[in-house]
């Protein structure tokens, strides 16, 4: 036992001292959060002041286009040529020109002149307003009251409720995508740390240190120490990444989503009000959140995720799934003695992982298919597939069965890997085949 501890300690120390490891653990959360931050940032309106001179030759928009906190509009009857010529001297940031035949359509009917490129959000802000005004104009031209049109529009939200065996219903949050992300993460983690074990075993074999070590400890102890050592490294890395991601995203959300949260609260309060009072409510008094609905939907879904359940399952499936696959990786790592030969052994191990990944994709579309069911029980795919299902609500017995199968399989696989490993690490100079590996299982 003391010797296994020594082996684990060495494995952990050598990996933690590795520069790539440190950089990876810190850089990955920063990149992910940075990416998310940019996405959110882009979806929000810019805070750049825009001072726009509008030259409306169509006479449709005068005083109908309105600004907001950051956009101020002023109208002018000047000619476009003059306005553009004097543009640089004036303190307008943009000149918006609308052609007289806008209503007939056609490209180039509207032009925006600028000094510094305005953001996408500003462009959308102007464009959406213009489209709405043209739309209402056209309706009016046909004697249709725009209010009729807007009142006949209805947003429909389907609420999913699962009925279990006892007849209890439970509202299901439609957050399959989140489950898939968990499954994909599992795939990456198992592969990453499995490969770490593989490389570590191969390195010991090719540097020939292994014969010195197995003259002091049993090969099985060496293998186990290595696997556990990498598992600890993996957990440390997972915690670093998790903590860093949590901190960064908390930071990001206070910066970007503070408004969104208060808005979401008033949106929810408003919905309650509508539910209670039915149509006896003055619609004009309601705040309009149309442009925020997507974001609200996302936030609501995230709030519905049972993070504790997901976290516990992730850890359990990661540990057993990792142990299962890293045993296989250790066994095949012992069988090869050069990087060049390793591919033919890694590919067959990759295939079930890839299958699991594809079933996880299928879970998004069809979470109750039999492929998903069996995929979440078979140990080769269950860590990935089960994680992708977890947010859809999995019956407890299925979860328990799947974990038990995985547990028993990992014990069996480790035992088998130990037998292969013992012989494999001392075999040099021969190209190994699967048949050969099969024979090693039966050596004394």
């Amino acid at each position: 036992m003391k010797k296994i501890r020594l082996i684990i300690a060495r494995e952990v120390k050598s990996k933690l001292a590795n520069k790539t490891f440190i950089i990876m653990s810190i850089l990955a959360p920063i990149l992910i959060n940075g990416f998310l931050g940019i996405m959110i940032k882009m979806s929000q309106s810019e805070k750049t002041e825009q001072n726009v001179l509008v030259i409306d030759d169509s006479k449709l928009f005068r005083d109908k286009l309105v600004g907001n906190d950051f956009v101020s509009l002023s109208y002018s009857n000047a000619k476009l040529e003059d306005a553009v010529a004097s543009f640089t001297k004036k303190n307008y940031t943009c000149v918006l020109w609308i052609s007289p035949n806008l209503i007939e359509g056609g490209a180039g009917a509207t032009k925006l002149f600028y000094k510094k490129s305005p953001g996408l959000a500003f462009q959308t802000f102007i464009k959406d307003q213009m489209e709405r005004i043209v739309y209402e104009n056209k309706l009016k031209a046909n004697n249709i009251d725009p209010a009729i049109i807007s009142n006949s529009k209805q947003n429909i939200k389907v609420i999913m409720e699962r009925v279990d065996e006892k007849g209890n219903t439970e509202e299901q949050s439609d957050i399959r995508l989140f489950g898939f992300v968990m499954g994909a993460l599992m795939f990456i983690f198992i592969l990453l740390y499995g490969m770490m074990v593989f490389r570590s075993v191969m390195e010991e074999k090719t540097s020939r240190i292994v014969e010195v070590i197995v003259s002091s400890v049993r090969p099985f102890e060496l293998m186990l120490g290595k696997i556990v050592g990498v598992a600890i490294v993996g957990t440390i890395q997972f915690l670093i990444m998790g903590l860093l991601t949590f901190l960064l995203s908390a930071l990001l959300s206070t910066i970007f989503l503070k408004d969104a949260k208060t808005q979401l609260d008033s949106f929810n309060a408003q919905q309650e009000l509508v539910k209670k009072n039915g149509t006896n409510i003055n619609l004009d008094q309601l705040e309009k959140f149309d442009d925020k609905l997507k974001l609200f939907d996302m936030l609501t879904k995230i709030q519905q995720i049972n993070f504790v359940e997901v976290f516990v399952c992730f850890i359990l499936y990661f540990i057993f799934g990792y142990l299962f696959y890293s045993s296989i990786m250790a066994a095949i790592g012992s069988a090869v003695d050069s990087e060049a030969d390793s591919q033919q052994f890694i590919t067959p191990v990759m295939i079930p992982l890839m299958v699991g990944y594809f079933i996880a994709i299928k879970t998004i579309m069809d979470p109750d298919s039999s492929a998903v069911f069996w995929g979440s029980l078979i140990p080769f795919t269950s860590p990935i597939v089960m994680m992708s299902r977890i947010t859809n609500g999995v019956p407890f017995w299925e979860l328990l069965l799947s974990l038990s199968i995985l547990f028993v399989s990992f014990i069996f696989m480790t035992w088998m890997a130990g037998k292969i490993y013992r012989t494999g690490i001392l075999m040099y100079g021969k190209k190994t085949s699967w048949r050969e590996i099969g024979k090693w299982l039966f050596y004394k």
Partner: protein
């Protein structure tokens, strides 16, 4: 002297060949034991079984009278033929780690490591990575790893390969010193010169079977061929006549007026009788018995074995 190691009827089979076939060897305590044999004979298989890296299919091994078990690994030191250390780990950490795996407490390992580093004048290597050292330096580190836990039984597989003559001598001296301190050394080698120099006893393995064992002196004595070399001054014809039918001349040559004759005694004639016969005739400068070297015996025995043997083993050691 009691035996530190008794190997009894050990056999080991791999899927397509037999590595060891019913091998029994006793290794005497506090002596240097040579395990000899051509490549692929089964030496490394046997050494791995003694180190409990693999198990025998049948047969038993006793270490100081106890059946070999995992506790014994701490009392055995092993230098494999293919040397290897962690390339990216520092010399100090590495030796400490491997010493602890052999059961040494850390402080003790540190103390002994300091002693060895001073002895080999390599104190400055402590923080260096193995990959920064030359091959000879790595070998020294590996030797320290093998002996740092002061094993009672030291197993060295081809210990001199890869050493330059100066370092080889250094290691030779260490081996002899360790023996003086009471360790038993088993080493396998092809270098027959070092066998005669170092070994007290040997076993010769060929084609997975033991074909010869015993003390080096005994073996050479047994393989004596009654061959002598005599150099003398005098009449060569007279010399030949004096031998008459008592000896057969194998080789002769003359330089200036000194003759050198190699001859084999026939039919129970002793060396004293020979000397008596030739003493009156010539002036003897030297008289030597030509005892076969271990090299000769090795080649002879292996060739004998090969003439009888069937298919050649293709197992790589």
């Amino acid at each position: 002297m009691p035996d530190i190691l008794q190997i009894k009827n050990v056999s080991k089979k791999y899927s397509n060949h037999i590595a060891l076939n019913d091998v029994s060897i006793n290794v005497a305590e506090k002596a240097v034991f040579g395990l000899l044999g051509p490549n692929g004979a089964g030496k490394t298989s046997l050494i791995r079984i003694i180190n409990q890296i693999t198990g025998p299919d049948s047969g038993e091994i006793f270490f100081k009278g106890e059946k070999l078990n995992p506790k014994h690994v701490e009392r055995i030191g092993y230098l494999p033929e293919e040397r290897g250390l962690y390339k990216k780990m520092s010399v100090g950490d590495q030796v400490l780690y491997l010493a602890q795996l052999k059961g040494l407490p850390k402080y003790e390992a540190k103390k002994r490591l300091t002693y060895w580093f001073e002895k080999f004048e390599m104190q400055s290597w402590w923080k260096k990575k193995i990959e920064e050292l030359s091959k000879g330096m790595q070998q020294k580190v590996q030797f320290i790893v093998t002996v740092i836990h002061e094993p009672e039984l030291l197993i060295l597989d081809e210990p001199f390969s890869g050493f330059d003559p100066i370092n080889a001598q250094l290691i030779k001296n260490e081996i002899l010193e360790l023996r003086k301190k009471g360790a038993t050394v088993i080493f396998s080698t092809h270098n027959m010169g070092s066998v005669e120099e170092l070994c007290d006893n040997i076993a010769l393995i060929n084609k997975s079977e033991k074909i010869l064992d015993g003390s080096v002196k005994e073996i050479r004595k047994i393989h004596r061929t009654n061959t002598y070399n005599i150099t003398f001054k005098g009449n060569l014809l007279g010399f030949t006549n004096a031998l008459w039918t008592g000896a057969e001349i194998l080789d002769k040559n003359t330089e200036d007026d000194i003759h050198s004759v190699t001859l084999k005694l026939l039919g129970g004639v002793t060396s004293s009788q020979l000397l008596q016969a030739i003493l009156p005739i010539c002036e003897i400068h030297s008289f030597n018995e030509l005892i076969p070297s271990m090299n000769d015996i090795f080649i002879m025995k292996v060739n004998q074995g090969n003439e009888v043997a069937g298919t050649k083993s293709n197992y790589t050691e």
